[in-house]
């Protein structure tokens, strides 16, 4: 007997369970499919929930820095844009927000004396640049417009 024949005869003794195969044939996957979809939905919902909770917790932990980290800019054509800012805190806990817009870097920092300091710098001094206006909103609903060039 050749190796191949012996091998074939030996391994042909292994058979799948007829019951298990018939189980799949009879079920035609209907139940599995529904189960799979509901499982996937639950997983997606859990992920979304986790992200939302993590966002709220992170925002609370950073004292609102995530939500507050936008600076409103008024562009040359009068359009208002919310630009996400990089937020940092110094040793005394004072917040500094930095944004880059066009050729400018704008820094808004809380001052020791209260209020805010605004710095407008050029990223590339050789490039032409337009003036820029940012909006500082007060808690009472009022706003101050600060321009820099």
């Amino acid at each position: 007997m050749s190796n191949k024949e012996l091998f074939r005869q030996t391994f042909s003794e292994l058979h799948a369970s007829e019951d298990k195969v018939m189980e799949v044939i009879n079920m035609k996957c209907n139940r599995k499919t529904k189960h799979f979809h509901s499982k996937r939905l639950i997983a997606v919902a859990a992920c979304v929930g986790t992200i939302l909770i993590a966002g709220v917790v992170a925002n609370a932990a950073t004292d609102g820095a995530i939500v507050d980290s936008f600076i409103t800019v008024i562009t040359q054509n009068g359009e208002e844009k919310e630009i996400p800012a990089e937020v940092s805190y110094d040793n005394d806990g004072r917040k500094t927000q930095t944004i880059e817009y066009g050729n400018k870097v704008v820094t808004v920092e809380e001052l020791e004396s209260g209020g805010s300091g605004y710095t407008f710098t050029q990223k590339d001094p050789d490039k032409t640049h337009d003036s820029i206006t940012i909006v500082h909103r007060f808690e009472n609903g009022g706003a101050m417009y600060i321009s820099g060039s």
Binding site: S2, N3, K4, L6, F7, R8, Q9, T10, F11, S12, E13, L14, H15, A16, S17, K20, V21, E23, V24, I25, K28, C29, K32, T33
Partner: protein
């Protein structure tokens, strides 16, 4: 695919899928689970198959992937020494029993190559494509597996070129 086609293909290839799975995990329960997973995947698959051979190749490839997946799962990561295999079929002669034991003693990567070559009748390049392994590696594994089988089985296993 009609229900009749699915039933016919399931019955025709379930044993092949089972043997592939058994060569990986060495036990009936896991192999039966793999058969079910592969058949469910086949039923859900919207792929257009060109031929019966195409279906067979697809089923075998999915069986290999499912077996590998099962083995890397943390719940299944374990080894089963040959003495503990309780799922060995009852053979009608000693040669078959010895060959079965000898194959099960081979490292997993050799077992599947030997099975694909000797049972499923695939050639080296086909096995190479299915396993995603270089042809020369398959040739080496096949040669080492043959040497090991020869060493274990002596005259039962004929010398090959």
């Amino acid at each position: 695919m009609t229900d009749e086609e699915f039933t016919s293909i399931s019955l025709r290839y379930s044993d092949s899928i089972f043997r592939i799975a058994f060569n990986y995990c060495k036990n009936r329960a896991d192999s039966d689970d793999i058969v079910q997973n592969v058949l469910i995947k086949f039923y859900k698959c919207s792929k257009k198959f060109d031929s019966e051979e195409h279906i067979r190749n697809w089923l075998i490839r999915v069986a290999i992937n499912e077996s590998k997946k099962l083995l890397i799962s943390p719940f299944k990561k374990r080894t089963v020494p040959i003495d503990e295999i309780s799922d060995k079929p009852a053979f009608d002669n000693q040669e078959k029993s010895d060959l079965f034991d000898a194959v099960m003693k081979l490292p997993k990567k050799y077992r599947i190559v030997v099975y694909m070559y000797y049972y499923e009748d695939y050639d080296v390049s086909e096995i190479s494509k299915m396993l995603g392994v270089n042809s020369s590696t398959i040739r080496t594994q096949l040669s080492r597996a043959r040497s090991s089988l020869k060493e274990q089985l002596q005259e039962v296993w004929a010398d090959e070129q």
